[in-house]
């Protein structure tokens, strides 16, 4: 199996996620971009597992999914509280703490 296309795809997905975190304003969308980055990592891990012919990478991908799920719980809780207080989920509005 040719591994390179999959690694390139995962790098592209990771970059899209990274750029999304930096440019998007809505906290939910920013958070989705972080999830995209984690899933790009999963793709890379699974591809490398195939290349090396062992299961470490696949096992790691399962762990990453569980961690991502836990992160969603905590993250959405925090975003929800902010949204209820400010009536906005824009990350630009949360700007009391500066300098």
């Amino acid at each position: 199996m040719e591994a390179e296309p999959f690694i390139v795809l995962s790098a592209i997905l990771f970059t899209i996620g990274g750029v999304g975190v930096l440019t998007r304003r809505n906290a939910i969308v920013v958070f989705m971009c972080v999830e995209l980055m984690l899933n790009a990592c999963n793709l890379a891990l699974v591809t490398f597992a195939r290349v090396h012919g062992n299961l470490d990478g696949q096992v790691a991908a399962f762990f990453v999914m569980v961690v991502a799920a836990a992160e969603v719980v905590v993250g959405l809780a925090i975003i929800m509280t902010i949204f209820r207080t400010r009536r906005s989920a824009s990350v630009d509005d949360a700007s009391l703490l500066k300098y």
């Binding site: 990771f14 972080v34 980055m37 470490d56 790691a60 905590v74 902010i82 207080t85 700007s95 009391l96």
Partner: protein
Amino acid sequence: MSFEAPHIEYATLSPLLIVFGVALVGVLVEAFVPRRLRYLVQSVLALVGLVAALAATIWVATDLTVRGDGAARGSIVAEGAIAVDGPSVFVWGTLLLLSLISVLLFAERHLDGGLSAFAGQAAALPGTEAERQASTRGLEHTEVYPLMMFAVAGMMLFPASNDLLTMFVALEILSLPLYLLCGLARRRRLLSQEAALKYFMLGAFSSGFFLYGVALVYGFSGSTHLAAIAEAVNGRIGGQGLLLGGIALIAVGMLFKVGAAPFHSWTPDVYQGAPTAVTAFMAACTKIAAFGALLRLFYVAFGSAERDWTPMIWIVAILTMAVGSVFALSQTDIKRMLAYSSVAHAGFLLVGFVGLHEGGEGISSLQSVLFYLVTYGFMTVGAFAVVTLVRDAGGEANHLARWAGLGKESPLVAGIFAFFLLAMAGIPLTSGFTGKWAVFSSAAQGGAWPLVVIAVLLSVVAAFFYLRVIVLMYFSDPVGDAPAVAVPSILTTVTIAIGLAATVVLGILPGPVLDLAADAGAFIR
């Protein structure tokens, strides 16, 4: 095909398991114990659990087996996932001691009229009737204790993990509870929630980088075990691009947790917005855990590639010290200033880390960094504990202008705070001096003397902003009505006393703790 059950060394892992167990029991207490008893049950449970874990750590420390040539002691347990060796046990002990005194700050209810520093009801919107009711009914979130215990467990697992996957999971276990704890302040809730949002967003972003680095290093070496990675790095098998990219991305994730520039921007915001008890805990313990993991990863797994990563760490160290020292000068908020000071400390620690002195003559880099972490931890918790005492009607008076003339108002509190500041500046006869001396001398012996020269110069700049606060407290007149210094209960008093005692003793008699750090020996591979 038969399934072979993994072999877990429960006795060796007992400190870790006790803390995890107490955290889980804490969740059950939340569900089954009546509300009025929860505060007492939770705080006693957390204290007892931490003491038990500390006792178990001491027992494990006396029982480490010597391996190979005797430089390293300990064993690799849990099917190769966790390394319980000298440095791990040293970090565990330090973390547990600091968590113990931080838990006392969490439990403090004397400062704010019988209420804890945590939100009565996090779901009640700020400024609404529901929030006022929660306050008058004396509600409080006792979930903070189990959350803290989960964070402590993650912090203990992080520097002891011998496998990149375990390390990533530990990173998340320590981070997720901290994100929540940051958002639970009783006063200034908008700031607190904003701090939680910023910490969470940036923390999740950086852990994405860490994970992609793990994937690349796995692609390079074919394993996530640190020993197998070290072998692959040594033999230079596989693609160099994968290795260098992986090291760089993992370093981004690690340096974010450490609070090193240019990944420090969350530090001041989060330290300012979080409840001060949480800031004290987080500032001391996260840094210790993250430095433990950074040392293990770079010394054990990437040790043979040191030529590739030392230039990067040199630049990061210089940048971190400069940013921390210079930006702290212009701060007007005491917690923000201490946050920048912790950034500067991360830079000094990186100087010790990058010295790469193996020991032999003088103290080794590992020993010096471990010692510095102990000194830093105690003075940080102590200083933030003092910050909780200076209050006005709106809660803590964190603006620096409100600290003017504190020396006349309350000579004792001002004196203690001045002492902590002098320790952070590294004045002789305090632990800050011995810690700085340790990292600088080990780095100089490792050949990083240009870095040491820069570090000494920047620590002079850093001394200036500490002295500025001392001058403000003693030689300025109070503006408006002076802030009151609240009388703490025995809990905060004990925390400050322990922080103060450790800072004095480690400054005058650093020998025993330095010997302990030397006894910890090297990492096992």
